[in-house]
């Protein structure tokens, strides 16, 4: 029996990164196949290639033994491929029915009655209790997902790709999804399931393919593997960079978070405390509450429930400006939209957040010489590759832009540093530099909260590590009390038995 899908040697590159590196990926007809890996492993890219959203640099795709050339989603749909996206492609104020029939026909009349009948039949077949005249915005997330599924089925999809389908579901909804997947398999459909979560993979998949750093690492049948093995494959057995981190006795508590609810639709809260002279690393796949945490600490997002205090002072309701006055340095995760002004000069970027007070501002007048001096010092201290401080920021490489951000924040002698995804997208040299900088800050008795999806980075730099998963801290202990494996499992939602 020919394979439902055969992807051979797929290579897909983006500027600066090879997202898929000669990946071979096979799916058998009628199976549920899990595509497993961390952020940036290349899973979504691979499926976007399959679905006609990206064109690969190299490689071939065969469907049921026949070579195909899929150049657009429309073509993919015609070939029986369907995709349930991580961020739903649904129109909020339209009904379920309308979303399903959208773009299907060029006829003038909507034919709602006929479609209603057929869709209801289809929904019943899969046991979807769904009111197809309800507006999408009134549906629960689980229901919205069913609409996406129905949409693909209604168009005759035989192969359905799910992109991180449980990322947004409650545990109960996840169970229901498993039932749906089983039903799809019973009906002879082929299912591909992109995920970073181990428990779900083990629960539902027939076969599992692990991707890491753009390469395929292994394909196994479920019976032949277990969560431990998979975790190892996912995060790798790389030798950790040996870094001489001196033992340090942490100082006073500088940041305290109590009962902070991160995700709006989940009741879980977190507690966290950070001391001077230590680095606490928040590990976890992006999308599990990291952005919410970062923004709540900085006052850019309203706190739903809970308290944040800095240096024993309550800051939960304080403005961003007031918090910065309390010597917080902020390295935002979204450099382009939070950290820099692309069309301003380096000097003008360095001014941000400190522009209204001494030494850069006196009586509302910007002190040009002081600013220039300071900027040049940052450029030299932080090794920023640029002819001068008048350069527009967009002319700098990503790494150098980030160095400017770090220079701006750190040179103000903060007490607490919030570094979110500080080395994302940077080259090795810049990464090394920034890591050393953070370690120096630690040496200097500052408190650093490092939020990063890069597990290597978290392990290398942190004194204590907390794993964030679905808005909850899964484990919070000293680095030396963790095994790499354990962290990997926690990141994937797998609870670890506490060893005595």
């Amino acid at each position: 029996m020919p394979l439902a899908i055969e992807m051979k040697n797929i290579t897909k590159k983006f500027p600066g990164v090879t997202a898929n590196d000669k990946v071979n990926f096979n799916v058998e007809k009628g199976e549920i196949h899990s595509l497993l890996g961390e952020n940036g492993a290349g899973k979504t890219t691979l499926m976007n290639v399959l679905f006609g959203l990206y064109k690969p640099e190299d490689g071939e795709i065969f469907l049921e033994g026949e070579k195909v050339n899929i150049e657009s989603p429309k073509q993919a749909l015609k070939k029986g491929l369907g995709m349930v996206h991580q961020h739903f492609m649904l129109i909020n104020r339209m009904t379920v029915l309308e979303n399903i029939i959208l773009g299907m026909s060029n006829e003038l009349s909507l034919n709602k009655k006929e479609h209603r009948r057929s869709i209801n039949e289809l929904a019943e077949k899969y046991d979807f209790a769904i009111n197809i005249d309800e507006k999408i915005e009134n549906l629960s997330v689980g229901m919205k997902q069913r609409v996406e599924i129905l949409k693909t089925l209604y168009r005759g999809a035989e192969i359905i790709i799910f992109d991180e389908p449980t990322a947004v579901l409650t545990p109960g909804e996840v169970e229901e999804l498993y039932n749906i997947l089983n039903m799809l398999r019973e009906q002879g459909k082929t299912v591909i399931f992109i995920t970073h979560k181990l428990n779900e993979t083990m629960e539902i998949a027939d076969r599992i393919t692990v991707l890491r750093n753009g390469k395929k690492v292994s394909t196994e049948k479920k019976e032949n593997t277990n969560t431990n093995k998979l975790a190892q494959l996912m995060v790798g057995r790389e030798v950790d960079f040996e870094v001489d981190i001196k033992e340090k006795e942490p100082g006073n508590e500088i940041l305290k978070i109590r009962n902070l609810e991160l995700l709006a639709d989940r009741p879980e809260t977190i507690d966290l405390s950070l001391h001077q002279g230590e680095i606490v690393g928040i590990a976890g796949v992006e999308g599990n509450g990291q952005l919410e945490l970062e923004e709540m600490i900085m006052g850019l997002r309203k706190v739903i429930d809970g308290h944040i205090s800095l240096d024993n002072k309550e800051i939960t309701d304080k403005s961003t400006k007031e918090r910065k006055k309390m010597r917080i340095a902020y390295i935002p995760s979204d450099r382009h939209n939070r950290a820099v002004f692309k069309n301003f000069t380096i000097k003008e970027n360095i001014l941000l957040g400190y522009h209204y007070k001494s030494p850069f501002c006196k009586n509302h007048i910007i002190q040009e010489e002081k600013l220039k001096e300071h900027s040049e010092k940052i450029i030299s201290d932080y090794n920023v590759k640029t002819p001068n401080s008048e350069q527009l920021l967009k002319n700098l490489s990503g790494g150098n832009q980030q160095k400017v951000v770090l220079g701006r924040e750190v040179s103000q002698k903060p007490e607490f540093v919030l570094a979110a995804q500080p080395t994302r997208g940077l080259d090795i040299g810049a990464i090394e530099y920034i890591h050393n900088l953070l370690l120096d800050l630690r040496e200097d008795n500052k408190g650093i909260l490092l939020i990063s999806a890069d597990l290597n980075e978290v392990i290398k730099l942190s004194d204590r590590i907390a794993v964030l998963y679905e808005g909850k801290i899964m484990g919070f202990k000293d680095k030396k009390d963790f095994t790499r494996n354990e962290i990997g499992m926690l990141m994937a939602g797998e609870m670890v038995e506490n060893e005595a």
């Binding site: 961003t320 902020y330 939070r338 003008e348 001014l351 941000l352 522009h355 910007i366 008048e390 527009l392």
Partner: protein
């Protein structure tokens, strides 16, 4: 040092490419204008020659050009400041009417003041009325997100009607014309060149341009305004209050536009006259866009448009070509500058040929 700073400011923090786009846009617009002139059956060469003479051909012509330039500098600055904060102030016309009227009213009502105070106070009265008229759309945008384009356009009509009512009823002077009494001599902006309309308003305009430059690039207030215009989320992360800056930028913008009316009323007409503006507020949009929202660019562009309009009047008298053609050129300019991609693709095609 200041001038070098300013020029340096343009070529470094604004990209040189932007300046070329402006230059090219006006060139293209002029070419199309010439083509239109040709279509009407006139000679473009003759038309442009007459225009040039009308604008700069004699001392009195130059004075006229400069007189026309003054209000355009103000409205251009007004629109430019708003743009720097990411806002579209289409309401300069209404704001200048308010400025014109209330500066005159202040001059009339405060005539008891000693001479050296009356003029500044009258100017101030005009500025404040403009700041309020500009601040209202700013506030609405900041608080409710109401689109400032439609709000400012509506307030143009309302503002013009309010001043029209005031000058036709309670504050009307004797006689048939819809105008106020003449303002006290102390409140008149002195003439720079005798027997022309060119008043010290020009000096005020240049001072205003310098002040805007200083505010935007040398103060923290201006920094915040520009930051909000460049990237709201980044500005927010740096602790900047977005709402406050939107309201402030619009209020400043309104005050600048008002000065266009103030200098016309106190410098040229010496009273408020119903319907005195030939659309300075709208021309100001073209001035700001072409001038890349920079005070120096605004001054240069205002001068260009002042010359175009003055020259066009002569062209209108002497040739068959209507002076409203200048408005066409202004509109074309905005379109070309709005879509720099067009210019870039034209230039690219030239390169590859």
């Amino acid at each position: 040092m200041k001038l070098k700073d300013i020029i340096g400011g343009i070529s470094r923090s604004e990209s040189v490419k932007d300046v070329y786009i402006s230059l090219f846009s006006i060139l293209l617009a002029l070419i199309i204008g010439a083509f239109l002139i040709f279509l009407i059956g006139s000679s473009p060469l003759q038309a442009f020659t007459v225009m040039l003479d009308g604008a700069f051909g004699s001392v009195s012509n130059i004075a006229n050009t400069l007189t026309k330039t003054i209000p355009l500098i103000f409205t251009g600055l007004a629109v430019a400041v708003a743009f720097r904060c990411g806002l579209f102030n289409i309401g300069a016309e209404g704001q200048l009417y308010l400025g014109a009227f209330f500066s005159v009213l202040t001059a009339l009502k405060f005539s008891f003041l000693p001479a050296f105070l009356l003029l500044p106070v009258a100017i101030l009265g005009g500025i404040i009325s403009g700041m309020i008229w500009g601040g209202i759309p700013g506030f609405l945008k900041a608080q409710f997100g109401t689109h400032e384009v439609v709000v400012t356009v509506m307030m143009n009509y309302i503002g013009i009607n309010i001043t029209s009512y005031l000058v036709n009823y309670p504050f009307k002077a004797e006689g048939w014309v819809a105008q106020t009494d003449i303002i006290p001599t102390a409140a008149i902006l002195p003439k720079l060149i005798p027997k022309t309309q060119l008043s010290a308003g020009l000096i005020v305009a240049v001072i205003a341009a310098l002040a805007v430059y200083f505010l935007l690039w040398k103060t923290d207030i201006g920094y915040e305004i520009r930051a909000v215009g460049e990237n709201q989320t980044t500005a927010e992360s740096g602790g900047i209050n977005i709402k406050k800056n939107i309201s402030l930028a619009m209020a400043i913008s309104g005050g600048l536009a008002a000065l266009a009316g103030v200098t016309q009323s106190l410098g040229v007409y010496e009273r408020f006259i119903d319907g005195f503006s030939p659309g300075y507020g709208f021309t100001g949009i073209a001035v700001a866009v072409l001038g890349r929202n920079h005070p120096l660019g605004v001054i240069l562009t205002a001068l260009l448009f002042g010359a175009l309009e003055t020259g066009a009047l002569k062209m209108d008298r002497v040739t068959e070509v209507s002076n409203d053609l200048v408005i066409v050129i202004q509109g074309l300019v905005i379109l070309f500058v709005a879509a720099p991609e067009i210019i870039r693709s034209i230039l690219k095609r030239r390169e590859s040929q």
